[in-house]
Structures are given as structure tokens and as C-alpha cells.
Amino acid sequence: MDLPQPNSEIIARKPQIVALLQAILPDDAVIYDEHEVKAYECDALSAYRCPPLIVVLPSTTEEVAAVLKVCHVEGVPVVPRGSGTSLAGGALPTADSVVLGVSKLSKVLETNYEDRYIRVQSGRTNLSVTGAVEALDFFYAPDPSSQLACAIAGNIAMNSGGAHCLKYGVTTNNLLGVKMVTMEGEVLDIGGSHLDAAGYDLLGLICGSEGQLGVVTEATLRILHKPEGARPVLIGYDSNEVAGACVSDIIKAGVLPVAIEFMDRPVIRAAEAFVHAGYPDVEALLIVEVEGSETEIAEQLALITEIAKRHNPVELRESQSAEESAAIWKGRKAAFGAMGQINDYMCLDGTIPVSQLPFVLGRITELSEEYGLAVGNVFHAGDGNMHPLILYNANKPGDLELCEKMGAEILKLCVEVGGCLTGEHGVGIEKRDLMSTQYTDADIEIQLGIKDVFDAKWLLNPAKVFPLTLTESRRA
């Protein structure tokens, strides 16, 4: 993948830029030692690394605004960073950039159970938002797999999803307001504790803009009361087609499970070998989870198992206890780790219409044979959000490039069947150059125009999201 050439003139001014930042931040909030900045050289897309020029770790919105003002005046690119868990390279620095980490902005500012929201600083981790309200049985719904580590700032930047968004929606559906600092250092309040902004939906525009329109320092998030209980059922089929048809029938029947997870044989086997969850050796495994009181769970599961049986499952296992529920989820939760035991992997998250599932899985198998790279599929089936894991050997010259080429083919396939390049991870650098398969130049140009409005000098996370050739004339 091509990375933009750093601006040597900016790099040459490093001492002056450090001095300007030190003048507005506490000493320990400016990191410029070339060994220390290496800690920020990559995110979870660790195949790509580049130490930034400087790292700043502000503790307040005012400090963030001061940093951005300096960088704006000095013409220095800024790469915002939450917890660095992006799988798409959203927080990958360039050598001429200042990484602005929000990790010190981690406070809970307000909890309001009567109006069902929490206001937090954006560096707070996803899981600790729920942690702040669970004593009263409330929770924050979006639950990306990285929720132990990932920051709300990154969730907002990427519009993160999770396993339970079939019922609860993704970040944008659970975000009520933000405090955001523009590249010029202006502090804006967008939305609030009320529903639906007046005027244009800037909140909807900012959520998922990958840190290119502003730096979010505070967020008002919707919280919900936890359901009384939840229980999964495990269903195994001997073909992907049948499993796909079962998913579609469950949805059509009018019951909306909180999650429908799908694993194919390579993932089932890897997970079984890794954590011994007791999964059957089948072609496709579904985990369907429903919520509610005991009565409600029984009513929904009765309907789901009836539909599942119509498709002649090889295995049908309804959880009868908390232990059994944990066992059913154990393999799914360990799926990525299990694949990682076998080899290095690249995780895609293209999304497809559910009806195209069997076709796309078939094509992925063909591609896997063609490229000689193994693929496992584990994904959120209810919403068509796939997660093909392509195995490769990082130490074998050319293998990463081969894997990327195959990944690009899978993503193009997702777009061809009516889907999209990324359902919840974001474009970052990873899918940047594929944007033109989904959008025309005009579709992209209007998005570039939006960035012009928020960040006229193109300093915020500039070399992401869009093909470099289309942004070259705008970037500094």
C-alpha cells in the first residue's frame, strides 16, 4: 500500500513545533523522543507502522483546542487517536504528523438515569461506559469486540458496531451529542441531551467521519436498562445455503433476536481446537441470542427452534443454564484468537445483503483456492456484516501483498452484490484505494467538499478514507 511522502519541511521544524506545544501543555503531555514516539507508530492494523513526529496527550477540551490552533497555524497534520485499536489503520501516523491521543480524557461528566444518558470524555473506554452505569442495571449498547480497550472517541470516528447491533443499532444510533474541536481550534456543541438536532444532522455526519472533520472530546450517549435475561441457541447445518435461509426465515418470522452470529467450518474447527467449546463439526454454525424474562425467552426460542428444525439442523442446542450459554459463546468469542493461533490474519468487514450470503461464501472459497490462502468466516449474519479472516504468513515475502490482493477481491465482490466495503471497521488506509469501486468520482468529490468545509487546509487525518490520487491536490 502506498503511503504519502512526509513533508520534510515540517520535519525540519520539529524543535520549534515541540516548543510551541510545550508552551501550552504540561511537560508530560508532549512526547517527542524518537524512541518514545514509537509506541504510537501503529494501531491494530500492525502490518503498517510509522512513528509520528510528536505525540500530545491533552487532558482537557481547552488543551485540545490549543493544540489544534498551533498545528493549524503551523500547517502540521494531526492524527487523532483513541486507544489505537483500529483494524483499518485509522490512527496510523505519518512521519510529519502530530498524534493527538485522547487517552487522558477519560472522566464521566454526568450520569442521568431519569433521562437515560451519560456524558463522558471521549477517551473513556467503551466497556467502562457501561461500567459506570451497570450498578443500576443500565448499559451502553454498542459493543465492538475490542470494547475492553477501545475508546468512545474511536467508536464515534468509525461509527463502531458490535454483535448486538441488530437490535440496538450502531454508535450513530446511540449518540445524542458531542463537544467537538475543529482544526482551527473552535469548540462546538452539536446535539445534546435532547433527541434530534435542529437544522442539518451534523452529528450524523461527524459520526463515522474517521477523525477527519474534528476532534471529539465529549460525548452524550444513550443508556438503556438491561434486559432481564438473555439466552442463546446453537444451530448447526451441513450447508451455508441452509444456514443462510434459516437466518432469513427467522427475521421474516417477526422475531428480532439481539444477535445472530455465523461461523463456517474453518472457524468452527479452529475455535474448537483452541478453546474446546464442544462445537459440532459442521459446515455452518449459528448462534442466535434472545433477551427478556424467562417467559419471553421461552416464547422466542420456541419460535426460533421451530424455524430451525424446518431446515433439518445437524445440531440444535438450546442453553439451559448460564454455564451452557457461556459454552455456546466461548468459541465465537475466541474465534479471532483461534485463527491467530494458526497464522497471521487479515480481517475484513465487508457487508452484503443477507440473501447473497451463500453465493458470496461460495466465491470466497473459490478465491481461497485460487490464491492458496486459507479463509475462515465469522460474522454478524442478521445484518450481513461479514468478517472473512484471510490467513497469511507475515514472515514470508510477498504473502501480505497476496493477502491484500485477495482481500480487495472479496471486498469488490461485496460491493458487486449490493453491499459495501466496510460495515463497522472504517476505511482508514486499508480500504482507501478501493473507495472508487463503491463510489463514483462525483460521489467522492462531494465528500471531499465536506472536508473542505470543516478542515480547509486538510490537516486532520488527511491521508485516510479517500484514494490518495483524489486528495493529492488538497493535502498540504
Partner: protein, 358 residues
């Protein structure tokens, strides 16, 4: 009369327009400042282009009547999640509401409190911008973070950024059963406390309104589940389970037939009662609450400035029916500049619904 039947024809009309255009769907949601310009109708762009019940996805051209979409969804026991209102009674309009108009005004009813607003169900848009370019964003899958989310930006932009031509929705199963718990004779304070308790319970309440002294709480879903949750809510809140017509809340039926201006406020629910009192203090003739108290409707004498009742309460006010006051909440300087900047990018000649949003 301009009523294109294809997207290309629409694009040509806009590209060659010499002056301002007034975008008209069914002309049933007449919210916003009056607009001068030649009427550009969208009813010719009509029809459902894709419906996959098993994927909870429907795609329709912007001029498709809302009623047609609702009927097709109902035939598969599905529905639009956000319960779009029918504003015809309010405006004395007789046209057919179009799905494009619903999206352009982000029209969202009582279920918004649980299922999200129209913008939360819109997963893709196609539109023609002010220069006549056909543009798209999002698609037909419910999870999509590929590039900026213009589907959200276009929803509620009232035809000032582009003319919608096709919209994709996430739809939901229609429930097997519905129950409404009614608690009679509550003050606004008591009602908001009741609604907060209901919405903060595990019972998945999807309607919470206070109209004419009655507080109404709705649950929907499988029959056994609905019976269980309604019974638990009665135990917790009191009241009884009765038949209730939620379209009266959705369409503001009580206000529609009465003379006067109609104002709409969005605030945090616990501010609802305070705002209600302030509205009455400024001459409001009647006040109703939806969305657990966070959506406040007020009927007022013509020309009264009810927006002033907001004071330091966070939120915003819209003049839904009436003249003599600005329709939309004034924006802070920073937000206003961004909005003007966006408008210049989407419609540099300033010809689409010019002045609609003030």
C-alpha cells in the same frame, strides 16, 4: 409543470434551471419558511425498486406514496420502524404523502423514543445536487461505514442540499401484539416521572406520551411477551391496559382541528414539565408530551413567540404551523458557518428550496 419521471430528466431540469426551484412531494408537510421558485414535483419518480423481507430492507423512489410503502410492508408483516406521522389534518392538506417528503423532514412518530428517528432507518440515499449531479451514499445494507454518512445529512435537510430520488430503509417486523397502559389524571410532573420509570425499565417500552391528563405507555412484540410486560408495567406504575389509538399522538389529532399556531420542542424529558409551565405562562392554549416528555407540542395564539419559553433549557423549537416567528431554532455562529459551507458545496447556485430553513 415540472414532474420528471426519471432521475436523468430531473438532473437535466436542475442543471439547466435559470432560477430557484421549489421541491414538492405530496405537499403534505408544509414545514419551513415559504419558498419562491418554480415547483419541481417528485411524484413522477415513483415505485418500490427492491424489497427483501428476509434482509429487512426496502428501497423506493422518492415520489412513492408513503401509503403504498406501508401497504407493501404490511403484506409481509413488516413496517417502517419510526412511525411517520400524517400531517394532512394539521395543514388541511389533501395530497398523498411521499416517502421523499418523510425523509426530507425526518418525520418521526412516538416510536422514535425506542426505534430511532427516520434518519436512523435510512441506510442509503440517491439524490441530485444543485448542479444537477446524480450522487449516492450508503447503500442497501444496514451496516455501512464506507465514507461519510450523507444519508444522515440528507435526512431532514428539507430539499436544501439536493433532491432525493431513491432511498433505502432498514425495516422491522410488525409486532404480533400491542398493549397500552393508561394512567389517568396525572400532572405533567407525575407523567414524566411515570414515563421515565417505564422507559428506564427492562420492558422495552416504545411509546410514552401524556395527552389531556392521560399518560399512555406502549409495549409491542410477541403476544406472551406483551402480556407479561404490560402486566409488569401496571404493577410498577399503576393504571390499566386499554385500547388506545396511537395515531392521535402521532398526528397530533387534538390540535389539528383547533385554530392557532403549533410549536414543537425537543428537550430532555425531565425539562418537559418546566417547559410546559413556561409555555402556558407565555400564552400556550394547550400542551402535549411525547417521547417520554422530551417532545413537547404546544398550541398557541397566532404570532406568539413561544420559543422564548425555552430560556436556558437546552434543546430547540420549531414552528410547525403558523407565521410571524422564525420557523427553526437560531444556530450558534460556528454551526451556522458549517451549514452555510455545506450548502455552498451541495448547491452553489442556491436554487434548491432557497430560504426554506431560514
Amino acid at each position: 409543470m415540472m414532474n420528471p419521471t426519471t432521475e436523468l430528466e430531473l438532473a437535466d431540469i436542475i442543471a439547466s434551471a435559470k432560477g430557484p426551484l421549489r421541491i414538492v412531494g405530496g405537499d403534505t408537510r408544509q414545514i419551513g419558511h415559504p419558498v419562491d421558485g418554480d415547483a419541481l414535483h417528485t411524484s413522477g419518480l415513483s415505485g418500490i425498486t427492491l424489497y427483501e423481507p428476509g434482509a429487512l430492507t426496502l428501497v423506493a423512489k422518492a415520489g412513492t406514496p408513503l401509503a403504498e410503502i406501508e401497504a407493501v410492508l404490511a403484506s409481509e408483516n413488516q413496517r417502517l420502524p419510526f412511525e411517520p406521522s400524517d400531517m394532512r389534518g394539521l395543514y388541511g392538506a389533501s395530497g398523498q404523502s411521499t416517502i421523499g417528503g418523510v425523509v426530507a423532514t425526518n418525520a418521526s412518530g412516538p416510536r422514535r423514543i425506542q426505534a430511532g428517528s427516520c434518519r436512523d432507518s435510512v441506510i442509503g440515499v440517491q439524490f441530485v445536487d444543485g448542479q444537477g449531479q446524480i450522487l449516492k451514499n450508503g447503500g442497501r445494507v444496514m451496516k455501512n461505514v464506507t465514507g461519510y454518512d450523507l444519508a444522515k445529512l440528507m435526512t431532514g435537510s428539507r430539499g436544501t442540499l439536493g433532491v432525493l430520488t431513491e432511498i433505502s430503509f432498514k425495516v422491522l417486523p410488525a409486532p404480533e401484539a400491542t398493549a397500552t397502559v393508561v394512567i389517568e389524571d396525572q400532572s405533567a410532573e407525575e407523567a414524566v416521572a411515570t414515563m421515565s420509570a417505564a422507559l428506564g425499565s427492562p420492558y422495552d417500552v416504545n411509546g410514552a406520551a401524556h395527552v389531556g391528563g392521560r399518560t399512555v405507555i406502549r409495549v409491542e412484540g410477541l403476544e406472551g411477551s406483551v402480556n407479561y410486560r404490560a402486566a409488569e408495567l401496571v404493577k410498577k406504575l399503576g393504571g390499566t391496559v386499554v385500547d388506545f389509538d396511537w395515531t392521535t399522538v402521532r398526528d397530533l389529532t387534538d390540535f389539528a382541528s383547533r385554530d392557532g399556531d403549533i410549536w414543537r420542542f425537543s428537550v430532555k424529558p425531565s425539562d418537559g414539565p418546566k417547559l410546559g409551565a413556561a409555555l402556558r405562562g407565555r400564552g400556550a392554549l394547550d400542551v402535549q408530551f411525547d417521547w417520554g416528555g422530551g417532545l413537547v407540542w404546544a398550541l398557541a395564539p397566532e404570532g406568539a413567540n413561544l420559543r422564548a419559553a425555552l430560556g436556558d433549557i437546552g434543546g430547540h423549537a420549531t414552528l410547525i404551523r403558523g407565521t410571524g416567528q422564525p420557523v427553526f431554532q437560531p444556530e450558534s455562529t460556528g454551526i451556522k458557518l458549517l451549514n452555510e459551507g455545506l450548502r455552498m458545496k451541495f448547491d452553489p447556485r442556491n436554487i434548491l428550496n432557497t430560504g426554506r430553513m431560514g
